[in-house]
């Protein structure tokens, strides 16, 4: 049981990434593909946080009334995740905007019918 608890977050992150990859590769609706990209992002973020997590420690934010020796988790992956979230939001916004443009040109979001160029 301890083993499961240790690897739970890694498995969760990896699972989300796999779901995202499946959605990007197998789905035909453009919006579902973009949702898949969002899953990929989220999975990576969970994985990164899991790498920096240490069991039983608290968030690395020091405030008043908190002893300086309080054990905290590694803050670097969390900083990375914050950056990655911002990037992910930007990319998703652009992707949705492009999907709207694609819909205006083709009148459909089904990638099987969007074949102006050779796939």
């Amino acid at each position: 049981m301890q083993q499961v608890a240790n690897y739970m977050y890694y498995a969760g992150g990896g699972g989300l990434i796999l779901i995202g990859l499946y959605m990007v590769m197998a789905k035909t609706n453009l919006v579902k593909i973009i949702l898949g990209l969002s899953f990929l992002d989220t999975g990576t973020h969970v994985l990164l946080v899991a790498i920096g997590y240490v069991r039983g420690r608290t968030a690395p934010i020091f405030s008043e009334g908190m002893a300086e020796t309080t054990p905290v988790v590694d803050p670097v992956p969390q900083a990375m995740v914050l950056t990655a979230i911002v990037i992910g939001v930007g990319v998703l916004g652009l992707a949705l905007a492009l999907a709207i443009q694609v819909y205006r040109h083709y009148g459909t979001l089904d990638v099987r019918n969007i074949r102006g160029l050779k796939w």
């Binding site: 593909i33 994985l47 652009l94 992707a95 492009l98 040109h105 102006g116």
Partner: protein, 497 residues
């Protein structure tokens, strides 16, 4: 003494200044990208003599490495930064007249962001920082591909975005694993700790990195986005994507394999991937009998394959050849796309058949196009000859049968390359319009001065490097040594203060 961090700061600041200035005066906003990149070029050239003696390390935030994010301005990073500034400057001059779709400030802002990303990638010494700059470059290029908002551009940008985002995820996961293993993100610090890790873990991380950066570098089989994106984007965008954006992926792969991982056993795989990419790209380019930009895009894939193959050779001559070919391809392909841009504009279509006999109406553009095409094929008086010669002789000097066989395949692919470039040049000069003015594109005339200047400067550079290779070989020699000597890289960064 100017700080190398200006190389990244100037284009970043001007990217945001361009739309603001555009509120006041549209004409002034147009001048910002050329000015910013010209300043960058001057700074780069000023720093070059010092950097060739000793690499400059800039620590940001006042902490010593590895506790800060640092810029590592070595010969390799700086020579690529100068290349990016030069090509970017010429393309931005071209774009002042070529880009007409309003609002042009947005184009200029995205263009400068793309340059920022590329400059950051080649100069940074921190692996996560590299990822961030890489994303800046990617997002800017998705936006630029769809800039015209036409049918083909939007679809190409959508494909590019989906594949690029999946690639970025792979990079981020690899960085996460790297941090989990070593507890640091500083590239020099990771390089010192790599020998203590298990080879299997390192192999997995390296594979993730190669897949991730391979999407941007367009190595086979991750290159599906490139022909669409490069052929559907406006020509000035195709030029910067082909000349700069895909090269940064190659740089990242080379930096990670050599400096970060010291993966000598992996090099043969890299060469193999490169050769497959080369063959696929050249054959696909040969099959494009219709669309000139699609042909050039596939030719870019082939050339990237050649560069990746040369990086995998692993000797100093091989890496030197790879960098030399990288510079030559950046100049020549940029020139080809810029020339093709106005040829398409004047002929009124992308089709090669409509461009026959165009050389009579646009003699200067056609001559420049021919120079670049011959240089890419590797004909002697032009720059491409020297770099291909170094790559082939490096492959033969290794004495390993695999590399000798690869070199033979590369030479065979060059014949295919010659086939399609000569076909275009023949069409430009000797087909159509033989009965005088009545046949061929009648209204075509020479490109305007703002477009002709960058085209002719690039053609002059291609010939100058071909006749007098010492212009660049000295610097590239230092750059190749930097890539192979990881001990010096580590001491330079970690003992900077």
């Amino acid at each position: 003494m100017v700080s190398p961090s200006l190389l990244v700061a100037i284009p970043l600041a001007s990217a945001f200044a361009a739309p603001l200035v555009g509120l006041g005066s549209k004409k002034l906003a147009k001048c910002i990208p050329p000015l910013a990149l010209a300043a960058n070029l001057v700074i780069g050239l000023l720093l070059l003599p010092r950097v060739l003696e000793k690499a400059i390390v800039v620590s940001i935030g006042g902490f010593p490495p590895p506790f800060c994010i640092n810029l590592m301005v070595g010969p390799l990073g700086l020579s690529l930064a100068i290349l990016i500034s030069l090509v970017g400057l010429l393309i931005s001059i071209y774009a002042t007249g070529y880009i007409k779709t309003e609002p042009t400030e947005k184009y200029h802002a995205l263009f400068l962001l793309l340059a920022t990303g590329a400059l950051g990638i080649v100069l940074t010494g921190d692996i996560f920082n590299l990822f961030v700059f890489f994303e800046i470059l990617c997002v800017a290029s998705y936006g630029l591909t769809a800039y015209e908002k036409d049918r083909a551009g939007t679809e190409a940008a959508m494909k590019y975005l989906i594949q690029g985002t999946v690639g970025s995820t792979f990079i981020l996961v690899a960085i996460g694993f790297l941090y989990g293993l070593f507890g640091t993100l500083n590239m020099a610090d990771i390089a010192t700790k790599v020998p203590s890790a298990e080879p299997l873990h390192l192999f997995l991380i390296l594979a993730f990195f190669v897949v991730g950066f391979g999407v941007e570098a367009a190595i086979f089989p991750l290159n599906a986005w490139l022909p669409d994106a490069h052929s559907s984007a406006p020509s000035s965008v195709s030029a910067i994507l082909s000349a700069i954006a895909i090269k940064t992926g190659v740089y990242a792969i080379a930096r990670i394999t050599y400096t970060l991982m010291n993966a000598q056993g992996f090099l043969i795989f890299i060469s193999l991937i490169g050769i497959i990419t080369l063959v696929v790209g050249e054959i696909a380019a040969y099959r494009q009998k219709d669309d000139i930009k699609r042909m050039l895009a596939y030719s870019s894939i082939g050339q990237i394959g050649l560069i990746v193959f040369a990086i995998g050779i692993g000797t100093s001559l091989g890496v030197f050849g790879a960098l030399f070919q990288l510079v030559n391809h950046a100049l020549a392909k940029c020139l080809l796309f810029l020339a093709a841009g106005y040829m398409i504009y004047r002929a009124g279509s992308k089709k090669l058949s409509d461009m026959q006999g165009l050389a009579r109406r646009m003699p200067l553009t056609a001559v420049a196009f021919t120079v670049a095409a011959f240089s890419l094929v590797g004909l002697p008086p032009f720059a491409g000859f020297m770099s291909k010669l170094s790559i082939v002789s490096a492959a033969l000097k290794t004495g390993r049968s695999a590399y000798v066989a690869f070199a033979a395949i590369a030479l065979a692919a060059t014949v295919v390359e010659g086939g399609y470039f000569f076909r275009v040049v023949q069409g430009l000069y000797f087909r159509g319009g033989s009965k005088g003015e009545s046949v061929g594109p009648t209204k075509a005339k020479e490109a305007p001065a703002a477009a002709l200047i960058p085209i002719l400067v690039l053609a002059a550079l291609v010939i100058a490097i071909g006749v007098y290779p010492q212009l660049v070989t000295n610097v590239l020699d230092h750059a190749a040594k930097e890539l192979l000597d990881r001990g010096a890289y580590i001491t330079n960064v970690l003992e900077a203060l």
